[in-house]
């Protein structure tokens, strides 16, 4: 039987977001994968250039609805670096608290989605129910469940009271108990083992070659974590471990994320015990002087990278975002090769894709000819010809 091309997406029950995977099949085996992105491209980077820094705080948050806080954190870090502002210690701790709460809710969410993809909907209902505990804590402190609007340039907008701290610690006790249970489930439950073990293999050398990030890389035995490698917020003071496994498969990615839940709980407990007293925000000017800055944070899915160039006005000149899902896509294409078609949804889910934040490119399909690759020498000759035609001397 010949090879069959099977398009999955953009609208497909296995994908929560519009993305297109064209899978070449030989029988049941996946031979090749062609990933087409850009369905949720909105043009946020360009839009940011037409809005002020304060307005952009809200726009940046809506790059992604799940790891929204990691994006805002990056944006504020960038602006603060150019302004040369040192934010108060208490604000740093509150930011770290939010980063970790976000990781908790994202990992619980992912565990449920992974369960859903392998037909284990009970796990989905269980983890999402527990995720509501984190959502309640986030709502209690910030007033919002998803986009927290917590950061201001120069600090945070809302304080964490003693009562909040008590509630957060109570929530952590409950979540730790639940996470213990999920650890048991992930390691011993036959339903998960049958679907996740030795599926979606990404060898360590491939993970390095395709620059995988976050839990995907850590499940392939690479110790990479921006929180440790280049500490930001208050991660320098906070003791925690980087979780890695070397099983290289989907099960490894489940285990890494479940164990990271424990690390996050540990960090939050430390933060609550050592929360410094003082101001939560320093005043920042509206205009940002000329300068360039980069910032990267460890979002729940991996390294989230932002670049900012300012030109002395109230608006940025250029803003660039590279999100973890985009970095993981080449590795995903590698993982899918040679697997069975039925395993495709869980492998795609295993990198925890967030297409909404990933789509930074727009592919326009028209009648134009396909582009060609031009080397330096040809380009030089072309430029000489171009200038000569116009009567200029190169």
């Amino acid at each position: 039987m010949g090879r069959v091309k099977l398009p999955i997406g953009p609208q497909h029950p296995a994908l929560k977001e519009p993305e297109n995977f064209t899978i070449t099949l030989d029988g049941e085996r996946v031979v090749d994968v062609d990933i087409r992105i850009g369905y949720t491209h909105r043009g946020i980077e360009k839009l940011m250039e037409s809005r002020t820094y304060t307005q952009n705080l809200y726009l940046v948050e809506r790059i992604c609805g799940i790891c929204s806080y990691a994006h805002v954190e990056n944006f504020t870090q960038n602006v603060e670096e150019i302004l040369g502002i040192q934010i108060p210690k208490r604000a740093e701790y509150i930011r770290t608290l939010f980063l970790e709460l976000e990781r908790l809710h994202s990992h619980f969410l992912w565990l449920g989605v992974a369960g859903h993809e392998i037909g284990f909907d009970t796990l989905f209902m269980y983890t999402w129910q527990d995720r509501e505990v984190v959502q309640d804590l986030l709502e209690m402190i910030s007033g919002n469940r998803v986009n927290y609007a917590m950061n201001a340039i120069g600090g945070v907008r809302r304080d964490v009271s003693v009562e909040h701290q008590k509630k957060v610690l109570q929530g952590m006790d409950y979540l730790e108990k639940r996470a213990e249970y999920y650890k048991e489930v992930a390691i011993n439950e036959k339903t998960i083992l049958a679907r996740a073990e030795n599926v979606g293999i990404l060898k360590t050398k491939d993970a390095l070659k395709f620059s995988a990030v976050g839990p995907t890389a850590r499940a392939s035995g690479i110790t990479v974590d921006i929180r440790k490698d280049d500490p930001y917020a208050s991660y320098l003071d906070t003791p925690f471990d980087v979780i890695t496994t070397n099983t290289n498969d989907v099960l490894g990615r489940v285990v890494v994320r479940v164990l990271e839940i424990f690390e996050s709980i540990k960090i939050i407990r430390y933060l609550m015990a050592h929360l410094p007293v003082g101001e939560i925000v320093t005043k920042a000017p509206r205009k940002v002087p000329e300068g360039e800055s980069i910032s990267h944070t460890e979002a729940p899915r991996g390294e989230d990278f932002h670049y900012l160039r300012s030109n002395g006005t109230e608006k940025p000149e250029r803003y660039k975002v590279r999100t973890p899902t985009l970095a993981n896509l080449p590795a995903l294409a590698e993982m899918l090769k040679g697997t069975y078609l039925a395993d495709v949804p869980i492998i795609v889910a295993a990198i925890d894709p967030c297409m909404g934040c990933m789509d930074r490119v727009l592919l326009l399909k028209g009648n134009e000819k396909p582009g060609e690759l031009v080397d330096g020498e040809r380009l030089r000759r072309y430029s000489i010809k171009w200038f000569a035609e116009r009567g200029w001397k190169a």
Partner: protein, 145 residues
């Protein structure tokens, strides 16, 4: 009598199709959060379906991006009559925060007719459940809202 039976079935068990037309995911996770045991919209018979051909209600999120415009139309056309469209979120209602972006077409109602809007960025799961129930009530009263 048969018509009454069909309407009763439709109101008691509306099958929904969730479609992301370029949203940031915030509304999408809140829609799923409305399905979990805390709110459990399934007790109103709401079932999430995978294909437009099974769905009565299309639940859309996000501003329509240029890429998704044609797909949204196609999915809408594939749904059997009578069909209802619920828009979840501010950007689906009007373009919201993404207004003016070059990749964004505008609200969902610039592409397909809409029956109900649930505003918020993102709306809380209880607001989504409330919106769905209000839609069902208006279907029950008669025809399209």
């Amino acid at each position: 009598m048969f018509k009454g039976l069909v309407k009763w079935a439709r109101v008691k068990s509306p099958w929904i199709l969730h479609m992301n037309c370029g949203s940031c995911n915030g509304c999408d996770i809140e829609i799923l959060a409305a399905l979990i045991p805390r709110l459990d919209v399934e007790r109103f018979g709401v079932l999430l379906k995978g294909t437009p051909r099974h769905a009565d209600v299309l639940v859309c999120t996000g501003p329509v991006t240029k890429q998704m415009k044609e797909r949204l139309k196609r999915v809408y056309d594939q749904m059997p009559e009578p069909k209802f469209v619920v828009v979840v979120g501010q950007c689906g209602s009007s373009g919201g925060i993404y207004q003016g972006a070059y990749g964004v077409e505008g609200g969902i109602d610039t592409v397909i007719p809409v029956n109900a809007y649930i505003p918020g960025c993102p709306p809380r799961p209880d607001a989504i459940a409330d919106g769905l129930i209000k839609l069902l009530a208006s279907i029950d009263k008669g025809g399209k809202p």
